[in-house]
Subunit: 396 residues, 2 copies
C-alpha cells in the first residue's frame, strides 16, 4: 500500500508555486515580459565565467575516471580542504576538512543537520518570517518545527516570545540570515543575545541546544551593511551553505555542512553525516560539481544587480507609503500589505500583472514578499503598474 | 544531544572499505600495479566521449541560467520524456514522463522507492547474496530488511525459503539483477515464478506487494545471455536505475525511479516521490548532469572489457577447482571459498596481494566476491599469484 502521509501531501499546493504558475500562464497570454513576476527566488544573474571555464577545463584535461569517479561519502577530500581553507580565511575560525561535509544543496545540508541533533518528537525553533519548506524538511524527520512569531518592527528576533518557547524539548534553533523573505541581516547584537540565551538554556536543561544556521544568502549583502559570521558567536553552530545564490547555480544542488571547529565532537558530527546519508539516499554530491565549485570558492556572480533592484523598490515602496524594513541583503523585500489580509492584497495585485507572495506562507500574515531577482529593466517597468495598483485600489 | 544511532554506526566499519584501505596502503608500499585489488565495484572503463562532448557543448552554447537553473523536483521535463521514450523503445511498455522521477543515483532512487511503499515496522524482503548497503538504506527508514537465504546452486531465488518468509508484514520485495555480488542474471523463469507468487500473496493478504527492481547493471550483460526486463513480468514494479555503471560515471550520482505504467496509481507514485524528496533533502539531481545523460541515453561506455575479464577469471577459477556459477553480467564473480570460513580464506589471499571480499558481507558465508572492473592486463597478471595461493595454501 502507498504511504498515506505522502499521498495526502499531493493535495496541498504551495502558494508560491501556484502564483508562479499563474505568472507563466499569464505570460503566454500577454508576453512574459509584461508579467511582473516577483514570486520566485530564482537567481537571475549569469554564472561567473570562471565556473564555466573551469568545468570545460576539467572535462577537456582530466581523465574521465578521475573526474567522474566515486567521491567519498563525506565529499572529495581536496574539495573539503579548499572549503575549510576559504572559511578559515574569511571568518578566522580554525576550520579543517574534518569539519566539512559536502551536500546536495542546502536542502541536503539541512536534512543532515536536523537528523544529527533531533530524534522524532524533539522540537526545532525557527523565527518568522521563515522559508516555508522548513516545515516539510523538519516535519518529515519526525521532529517538530515551531515558529516564533516575528519581530515586525525590525524583523530581527522577538526574544520575549523566543524565551517562552525555548523549552526543554527544543534541541536546535534554526536561523536564516540574511533572511528569506525579509531581506534582513541579523545584527551582531541579535546574534550575541541569541547565543547568550542558548548557552544559558543549554546549561539549565543539561543538553546542548544546537544552532543551525542556513546561510545561502551570505554572499548577497548590500553596501554599508555588516553581516556577522553566525558561527563566531556560538560554538555549537552547524552552518548549512549552498552555492545556489552566490554562483547563480541553483540547479546544480551543491552546498555543504560546516560544523564549528569549536563545537564539541565536531569531527564525529561530520562522520555521522556520512552515516545519515546512507539512510536518506544522499551519498554525496556529483564529483564534477564538487570539483568545479572548489575552483571558484571565492568568486561570486555579479550580485550588484540585486542591490540596484533593492534601491529602486525600497524607495518606491516607501514613497507609496508602505511600511517596510530596508533589506540588508538577499533579493527579497517584505513590506506590510495595504490591507489586513495580504492574500487579498496579492490577489488584487494580480490584476496589474504584479505577482506578489502573501506573507502568510512565511509565518507573517499581513506582509508580502517580492523576489527581485529579475532584470532591473523589468523592475523599472513594474513601478508604474505598482503605483496604479496602489492609487486605484487603495486611493493613495 | 547528538543522535545515538548515527554515533553508534561510526564504530562499524565496512569490510569492503577496510579491504580497499589495505589495498591502498599496500599499494603505497609495493606499487599499486602490484596489488590485485578485486575489492571495489568502481567502473574502470572510460566515459563515452559523447558524454564529455555533450557536456562541453552545453557549457559552451547554452545560457548559464537555463543550464544551471532550478530543475522541477521530479526532474527536468524534457529529461523525463527522453528517459520514458528510451524505456518504451527498449522494453515495449508504455512509459511516459509521468512514470519517471529523476534521482541522485541509485541510492536516491531506492530511498524514494522504500518510502513510497513502507511505513516503519513493515518488512522488505531481499535475496542473498545481496548488496550490503541495502541494510542501512532500509533500516534507517524504520522498515525492516529481511534476507532470504541464497540458492547456492545457481544464485537464482530460493523459492522455498521465500514462500516461508513472505508474510503479511512484507510490503515490498527488492531484487537486483544482474546481481551484485554473484554476477548472475535472473532468468525469465525465475521472474515469472516470483511474479506469480507476488500476485498470489498480494491477493491473499489484501494489499499490493511491490517489486523494487534495482538495475544498475542492466547494461552489462554478456554475449549469449538474455536479461529479461523485470517490469514486463509484474505490473507493480518500481524500477530503480543508475547510469553509474553504463556510462562509467559513478561519481555523478544520476539515476531514476521508473514506475511501471501498468502499476495502479503510477502517476501518483511519481508525484509522491516529489513529496518524499522534501523530507530527505533530495530535491533533484543537478541540472547539468540530468541534461547530459538525456543526450546519451542509448550510449554506454565500452563495456566489453568486463566480459573479457569474466572469461579469464571464470576459466582460471574452474581450472583451479573452484565451485563457481558463471556470471551472465556485471563485473563480479562469486566463487565458493576453498575453506568453510571465507573471511579466513580472504585473509590468507592478502599475503599474495589478492584483495578478495568474503561473502559473509553479502549474506552468503563461504563464498567470496571478486570485482573485476580493473584492467585486463592486471587480471592476467593476477592469475599466477592466484595459482600460487591455491597451490601453496590449499595444495591444489
Amino acid at each position: 500500500m502507498l504511504v498515506q502521509k505522502y499521498k495526502d501531501m499531493l493535495s496541498g499546493k504551495s502558494v508560491i508555486r501556484q502564483l508562479s504558475e499563474f505568472a507563466t500562464a499569464r505570460g503566454q497570454e500577454i508576453g512574459y515580459e509584461n508579467v511582473f513576476d516577483y514570486s520566485l527566488g530564482n537567481p537571475s544573474v549569469p554564472v561567473p565565467q570562471e565556473f564555466t571555464d573551469e568545468m570545460i577545463r576539467m572535462l577537456t584535461e582530466m581523465g574521465t575516471n578521475a573526474l567522474h569517479g566515486y567521491s567519498p561519502s563525506l565529499g572529495i577530500t581536496s574539495v573539503r580542504e579548499a572549503v575549510a581553507d576559504s572559511l578559515e580565511r574569511r571568518f578566522g575560525l580554525p576550520y579543517g576538512k574534518e569539519h566539512i561535509f559536502m551536500a546536495v544543496g542546502a536542502a541536503g545540508a539541512l536534512a543532515h543537520a536536523f537528523r544529527l541533533v533531533t530524534e522524532p518528537g524533539d522540537e526545532i525553533l525557527t523565527f518568522a518570517p521563515f522559508f516555508p519548506e522548513y516545515h516539510p524538511y523538519v516535519d518529515l524527520t519526525g521532529a517538530v518545527l515551531k515558529v516564533v512569531p516575528p519581530d515586525t518592527e525590525r524583523f530581527q528576533i522577538h526574544f520575549g516570545k523566543f524565551r517562552e518557547m525555548l523549552t526543554e524539548k527544543v534541541m536546535a534553533v534554526l536561523i536564516n540570515t540574511p533572511n528569506n523573505p525579509s531581506g534582513v541581516v541579523y545584527s551582531a547584537e541579535t546574534l550575541r543575545t541569541l547565543a547568550d540565551i542558548l548557552r544559558e538554556k543549554s546549561a539549565e536543561y543539561g543538553h546542548t541546544i544546537y544552532l543551525i544556521s542556513d546561510e545561502p544568502y551570505r554572499e548577497i549583502v548590500f553596501s554599508g551593511v555588516e553581516a556577522p559570521c553566525v558561527s563566531a558567536f556560538y560554538d555549537n553552530t552547524i552552518m548549512c551553505y549552498s552555492f545556489s545564490k552566490s554562483l547563480s547555480i541553483p540547479g546544480e544542488r551543491i552546498g555543504y555542512v560546516a560544523v564549528n571547529p569549536r563545537c564539541k565532537d565536531a569531527e564525529d558530527m561530520i562522520n555521522m553525516c556520512g552515516q545519515i546519508s546512507r539512510g536518506i539516499g544522499h551519498n554525496c554530491p556529483p564529483s564534477l560539481i564538487q570539483l568545479a565549485v572548489a575552483r571558484v570558492l571565492d568568486k561570486t556572480a555579479d550580485l550588484g544587480v540585486y542591490e540596484t533592484n533593492r534601491n529602486l523598490l525600497y524607495r518606491e515602496l516607501v514613497n507609496l507609503g508602505f511600511t517596510c524594513v530596508e533589506p540588508g541583503g538577499t533579493f527579497y523585500i517584505f513590506p506590510k500589505a495595504l490591507e489586513e489580509d495580504a492574500v487579498e492584497f496579492c490577489r488584487k495585485a494580480l490584476k496589474y500583472d504584479l505577482v506578489l507572495v502573501p506573507g502568510d506562507t512565511f509565518g507573517a500574515p499581513g506582509y508580502f514578499r517580492m523576489a527581485y531577482c529579475i532584470d532591473t529593466e523589468k523592475v523599472e517597468r513594474s513601478l508604474e503598474p505598482l503605483r496604479r495598483f496602489v492609487r486605484e485600489v487603495y486611493g493613495r
